[in-house]
Symmetry: C2
Subunit: 582 residues, 2 copies
Amino acid sequence: MSAYHLSESKSIAMMKLLALCFFVISLINIPIAEARIRHYKWELKYEYKSPDCYKKLVITINGRTPGPTILAQQNDTVIVEVKNSLLTANTAIHWHGIRQIGTPWFDGTEGFTQCPILPGDTFVYKFVVDRPGTYLYHAHYGMQREDGLFGSIRVALPDGESEPFAYNYDRSIILTDWYHKSSFEQAVGLSSIPFQWVGEPQSLLIQGKGRFNCSAANPPMKADVCNNTNPECSLYSTTVVPGKTYRLRISSLTALSALSFQIEGHNMTVVEADGHYVEPFVVKNLFIYSGETYSVLVYTDQDPARNYWVTTNVVSRNATTPPGLAVLNYYPNHPRRSPPTIPPSGPMWNDVDSRFNQSVAIRARKGHVYSPPATSDRVIVLLNTQNRVNGKTRWSVNNVSYDIPHTPYLMALKENLLHTFSQTPPPEGYDFANYDIKVVQNNTNATTSDAIYRLQLNSTVDIVLQNANTMNPNNSETHPWHLHGHDFWVLGYGKGKFDPINDPKKYNLVDPIMKNTVPVHPFGWTAFRFKADNPGVWAFHCHIESHFFMGMGVAFEEGIERVGKLPSSIMGCGETKHLLKP
Amino acid sequence: MSAYHLSESKSIAMMKLLALCFFVISLINIPIAEARIRHYKWELKYEYKSPDCYKKLVITINGRTPGPTILAQQNDTVIVEVKNSLLTANTAIHWHGIRQIGTPWFDGTEGFTQCPILPGDTFVYKFVVDRPGTYLYHAHYGMQREDGLFGSIRVALPDGESEPFAYNYDRSIILTDWYHKSSFEQAVGLSSIPFQWVGEPQSLLIQGKGRFNCSAANPPMKADVCNNTNPECSLYSTTVVPGKTYRLRISSLTALSALSFQIEGHNMTVVEADGHYVEPFVVKNLFIYSGETYSVLVYTDQDPARNYWVTTNVVSRNATTPPGLAVLNYYPNHPRRSPPTIPPSGPMWNDVDSRFNQSVAIRARKGHVYSPPATSDRVIVLLNTQNRVNGKTRWSVNNVSYDIPHTPYLMALKENLLHTFSQTPPPEGYDFANYDIKVVQNNTNATTSDAIYRLQLNSTVDIVLQNANTMNPNNSETHPWHLHGHDFWVLGYGKGKFDPINDPKKYNLVDPIMKNTVPVHPFGWTAFRFKADNPGVWAFHCHIESHFFMGMGVAFEEGIERVGKLPSSIMGCGETKHLLKP
């Protein structure tokens, strides 16, 4: 080769150099001019970490939990190469809030859209982020999310476009609750007879950091297990300068807890929810449920001579989990300097009205309203109940407790393996006339099923989530339901039993917010509408990790015939092995 | 149907009944007349158990650890349907000592012969047990064996044939060591930088039972975590009647420890090792290494008014692990009645000579000698060393630390996916002339590799295991090496460096025992010979779970072209996904 180069004439060399220059310039130009590719390479590992000072195995992405924030612009293509180095455990990653239009096989929902990713394998997710806003990613396999496998996705507007609100700085903060037991240990307890509940979380984490009181542990813990001086569990501190507006993208990926979030001495103006602009409203406490994302604007107008507490606390449960703390650090105070105050306490855990009122207050921002269809083609009412099935404590919907199938639906439907899941359609409602939602019911007819709701492509579907009493007297929990593959219009919330004649008349069809996650409050109902316009199979489930694990979910299919050729990378489990050539 | 039955004539009914009778009789007769099918259905689960009084997650088979004993007769076909209910973890089960002639794909070695079995999947192993004797099964994936997934296989002679020794009763006893940390936690430590050794096991278990001293734990443990009154951890007790001969099939599946096993006041006559008859010899202490099985005959000739201690203790390491205890219960004493004596202590941990002498003492039983080929076609010398590779502490062979490939060899070789593993042949030996095995070496040229030794089909291969100093001064460990797919003739053991000129002249070619697992003693060598006559790909590795995990193994291939069509059930991982049709 070098001999050949030496014999080349100078003119040919010059032409080649020019051609190369043009080629390089074209490469540089493409990404600026249009949608770019955002390429991430991740390695997932178990590692010992001490997020709240207690040392335990967590799942890290490139050594971190929370994992790296995905930064992209609207219409970019995100490619994430996930290498599973989790020893003997599989994984799958869901891109929470990303609709996966045209790529339903990359939704990352094990059992729905893909087989799990095996240890040693590298799975490549590739999808378009088609809307700006605040999204999340997390494990969607077993209860693995609780081991720390999650992170933020932040999609900016295209160059030249701007948000309908102004801010100087942009920060992402994920709220989680944290258990000291592994997700394996938790899951074994939940599926045991008798049921062994994992209990309330040991701590709340703000952007992956919290503080468990090691010295109060009983029995005492050794310093190599729990150490409050470990810098790994120093509180999260975010630095601000006075007189600026901060956009804080607050999201919750709690395993169990509903939260209130507050910043001492500062109001928060809510401007975004689940990737949609909100008609601004001001709160002192932001109520947030697992799977939700909010953007709030915070103006740093307080005394700059000190720091301020950022706190989060459990609501909706009378929990033993202490509040989570972080620091709003006014420059040039030291980021680790404790605020001089006692961390302010949040709202009362059982103040349902305030939470209900926040839900109702959220409306689409003027000028950014997507109008819902005026009517729906189908109404599905989903009664949220608890029961016992085969001796196990389960959550269920219309008395059917959901089981994830072994052959993912997407393959089962596309490859004609319909025998792999129940073909008996799940119920469209419950015994509305005779069911008292306010008392413990003897749900003796409860069953388990992996059947799916098959929706007409492009039809409009109304979902009414009806909450009810659990198996404990005078108890109804908050369930944040998350829909994959779609945003939906939130039509209304109510207290008590949904009235199918009169309540729909009060639906907000004028300026409903679109969301992907919505709470149903204790003993209440929540109604929403969506267009079944995204060919694929989509999970819809309570985002409380243990509730979905215990059966609180359903599956929707629409337009399966429009789904393109499935990539073989999603296969390899269940009956898809029969698709192997040899 | 019932209407049709009623209208049948009686004569037709009678003929049908007769035909049914013949059919049923034929079914009954087949299994008696010839090899039978032994069908097992297993479900694998994580469950909380307290084998040594400390409660932790273990892997159970049908609720038990050790799992059910497989009972079969020579030439029977064993079918085991393994349902993986391990939440998010995979598995694979190896049938230790079963050669898998004609079924190399059911050896159960993840990365070699199959992809892991996914949660929710049921994998069907089907193989012939072609030789009588004492065998084992256990997980062969990551370090999962340590979570309790193991059991015994006992293959009896065909009806009408008898052993060359007499006994009245037959019992299987598996010895293990036990850690309180999960295999995930252990593995993370071992692969961390800096290296975090899991330490010595917390207890020794005899047939799955042991006793950790809960009250001595520091820091103290709560009673729901560790409770010495828990009946789950009552000592293993085996009931005997006086004046009888008991065949005890003693096997070891320790994670780390070399053991001595003894029965207070009773001699043991060794009659079988790894499925081969041994020229009987009497011991008071049976030394046994992980992966080995022995049958000993015990005559119950002691004072029947009391019980006797059965003990096992760590040798070869100066371990902190207390001895494991069980009870030899002379009927009619109560099985839980403690023997009146202090449990006898075993031999000194550092008495290498006694262990060496037992190894040398084992010869094939007269009349049951399989003569080895007089010469070999190839000699491979495997230097056992420790080193650092990329900052990690590793074990290695000839300075190559072994990595398991992501695409199992069997598929890679049969489906022409040779790019999936290194094609650079691993070394046949080490720098014999210049390497001092007695000192710490600076093995700076150490590498990792997943390359394999390709053996000529039906050739005769000699393996010389050469032990050496670890990375600690004056330290060399005992490594029990286990060969899959073959038995081998044990030609000799030596102390110090193997002399390739003179030592082979001392090989025992007259009555060498055949085994599948053999120790190499500290600073010593072990030589064996085998016929590469079993088409397939076979692991050969140190049976210490952490050592193999850290690279102490190799792979042999022979006659891959003779391997039949691979079942698709073994596929689904790595590049075998490319074999999917869609």
